[in-house]
């Protein structure tokens, strides 16, 4: 399992403020909190409020995060120049978040990820829009895998993001994403599957329950790279438990070791 921590995102007010004020202490603290909670990667997004400054924002953010903890960097940008600069700064083993099947984005981003030793999140959006159900997600994942492997990526360097949409948008929205996770996992045992689940609770009260239930069910269905806030109580405990339930934690050793280390909160 690879836990990607989502909080350092300029779409959040506190992060945008720290970014515009170049408040390194604040960013470093958020990075450390997420690292201490059990994150494997820190997602870093500097795309707001002024997209023209994204390249300098993301390189600054990465420098601060690297100074604050020793976790991997998940470079979160749809801008090819910012993504390339971010990956260069982040070094080997970084993750690009994300490429998609949209032609313009694919054409611009594919050279960026092809030339780097990095993992890449493949978002299943295309020029036809959002994926429709489990079968559509599997078909789109096949197209994504074909493009990325042709560009030199290995199957275990690919993280398919099935697109979690708000439950409030339709009763089947999340169930379809989870069906997609299951179909993709059955097709490729070695691929990674991950995505931001907090989108699912948009517009609902006490969002954490929807986020946690989505995460647990998706992990049991085959997701292994949750993009979450690991500081929310229940997140790491349920993530490790769900990995074990999925049959991906033999003898529950990871679960038991995490419990012993005090990481199951």
């Amino acid at each position: 399992m690879i836990v990607i921590a989502e909080k350092i995102n300029a779409s959040r007010k506190s992060i945008a403020k720290a970014l515009s004020e170049r408040d390194a202490d604040f960013i470093a603290q958020v990075a450390r909190e997420q690292a201490d909670a059990g994150a494997d990667y820190i997602d870093v997004n500097g795309g707001a409020p002024d997209p023209r400054r994204e390249l300098e924002n993301i390189t600054w953010l990465i420098e601060v995060v690297q100074g604050a903890c020793d976790k991997g960097i998940c470079v979160d940008s749809a801008d090819p120049a910012a993504a390339a600069a971010g990956l260069a700064k982040a070094g080997e083993g970084a993750i690009l978040n994300s490429i998609s099947l949209e032609k313009a984005r694919m054409d611009a981003m594919l050279p960026v990820v092809a030339e780097r030793d990095c993992m890449v999140i493949g978002l299943l959006m295309s020029d036809d829009g959002a994926p429709a159900g489990g079968d559509d997600r599997l078909a789109r994942a096949e197209a994504m895998v074909a493009r990325l492997t042709a560009a030199g990526k290995k199957i275990d360097e690919i993280i398919i993001d099935p697109c979690f949409f708000p439950l409030a948008a339709g009763a089947a929205a999340v169930a379809q994403a989870i069906a997609g996770v299951r179909a993709i996992r059955e097709n490729w045992p070695e691929i990674h599957i991950g995505g931001g689940v907090s989108n699912t609770s948009h517009g609902l009260p006490q969002r954490k329950f929807v986020n946690l239930a989505t995460m647990a069910a998706a992990i049991v269905a085959g997701m292994d790279c949750p993009i979450v806030d690991p500081c929310v109580p229940g997140t790491m405990g349920l993530a490790y438990a769900a990995e074990a339930l999925a049959g991906r934690d033999e003898f529950c050793m990871n679960y038991v070791n995490a419990a012993r280390a005090g990481e199951l909160i």
Copy 2:
């Protein structure tokens, strides 16, 4: 969703003690706590420490629980005489927990549930032992449904218990039960599916994470009658969230109403 609260079970030391001392205040308090936390039914098991006293134990427990709250009674006994007496005491709309495919138990229990206006939990154990995987659970559920409907039960009076076994017994143990839940739900949209999930965490530390992850994933897969301790924080919130994720809560109205009522803890 029907939440069945599991705590009044004589296999728990505190309940066995209260039972042998006829400590009605203690039993009533446990019943009320579970009712206040959101239980729809209170499971009542009086089978220990002395099975010879099960009939008088269970009727006393039911009387105490009925005096303490207005929830339905889930009569938890494998003894036909105790089950019959318990169902008579519990009145209309009670649940029998449980019948199984084991010939002796089926033959003894079927007349008990046939003559009563009650729901019945059908445990997928048989004389061949425990169910093996998802397909085996579906086949056993078909046999169970055939027997129960032949005895006059309607499909929505049947609660299939897929048998949740300890994760520590095998990495695939819980995934197989959840696969069974999914197969059974696809086959019968109107049937109920439920079971005790706390068995899955047997022998593991911080059991609540395994229990909650199992519950959430099983509900998303189609379970609608979790047998749980609703007083454990996270249980009701995740149960309502998972029901919504499963597409069984249109416009998330049950989730939102439960949030407004302060029931999502």
